[in-house]
Symmetry: C2
Subunit: 210 residues, 2 copies
Amino acid sequence: MHQLMADGDQVLALSVDYGQRHRVELQYAQRSAERLGVQWRLADLSSVGQLLGGSSLTSPEIAVPHGHYAQQSMKQTVVANRNMIMLSVAAGWAISQRADRVAYAAHTGDHAIYPDCRPEFAEAVDRAIRLADWHEVYLYCPFVRLTKSQIVARGAELGVDFVRTWSCYEGGVIHCGRCGTCFERREAFLEAGVADPTEYEATPMYQRPE
Amino acid sequence: MHQLMADGDQVLALSVDYGQRHRVELQYAQRSAERLGVQWRLADLSSVGQLLGGSSLTSPEIAVPHGHYAQQSMKQTVVANRNMIMLSVAAGWAISQRADRVAYAAHTGDHAIYPDCRPEFAEAVDRAIRLADWHEVYLYCPFVRLTKSQIVARGAELGVDFVRTWSCYEGGVIHCGRCGTCFERREAFLEAGVADPTEYEATPMYQRPE
């Protein structure tokens, strides 16, 4: 949202409830939107999460794997086709609001595990949503060729209050510090040379896997 | 489903509740699946229908337009990006089930009003869902270059019990006979030279618009 506001856009924000255990991210998104004066809506796809079941992000009986993203176990966090579903709903809302574009914050760090964060996936979705309606909406991917640390650096430039942002896949009150996205969060602040204000439950040492 | 069964496929069926007033189509789909011994699931996107509001298919306060599809008023039946949303959810289910393909029954008759029934839209969605996951699923469109009357002819060959199929956009107990999809249904049977067993509330005369 900060990036789009800096672009001078009129922004609408959409969160998607797909049954994620880290539902707290929805509240963080809503509050961020409120602080920025942005209209926020929630799409309730929680029952669809069950249809796509088998991910640790949505099934209480599957534990969120700990450790770095690049490890094999992180594939358990994949919710089948989640990103395309969310982008399709966002595009539908954009079409109905006669908006110009949908913003998608995929970044380069995720590709090995999440094929739907690759630029070629974003290009295919862009083509589909342009063709979906006579009112053309396109997909805007400001971070698709940036690393998470470059995004942190950009956020710092834009004055993002990082304490009020959420990454963790666990459903806790503070960041767990152990799941893949917590590892990436800490690493990104470290690499960007930006002080990390996040309160973590645990800060285990880790080594980036080869 | 009849087409896929004739292809020798193992078939799973998905219906989507997007808040359509003609919810009766969901029951017709479920019963068709039961008769064919096909597993059927419902994706509940009814709250998303509200987000995409403004269509006569989902808003009780907007009447379903009567008359032929090609008339301008039929554009009120567009639910923004409905087909891409449904295809994305179906692709997610297909990925989670390790299925090979998603079947999409778009046909040539709809293009002037529904851009997301065009072959180029289907091709873009096909590319996106192939890229969305390491398990590749593709989009199968057996009817994308057929007219509705050719589909009726194919259905007759396959032994479809047409009385047990639903087209109408109104939420009635029998087909209204007045909405665009009823006009198309009757026209398709007529052109195919197949007896139409459908019970219609009304059978107004009509002329195909130029």
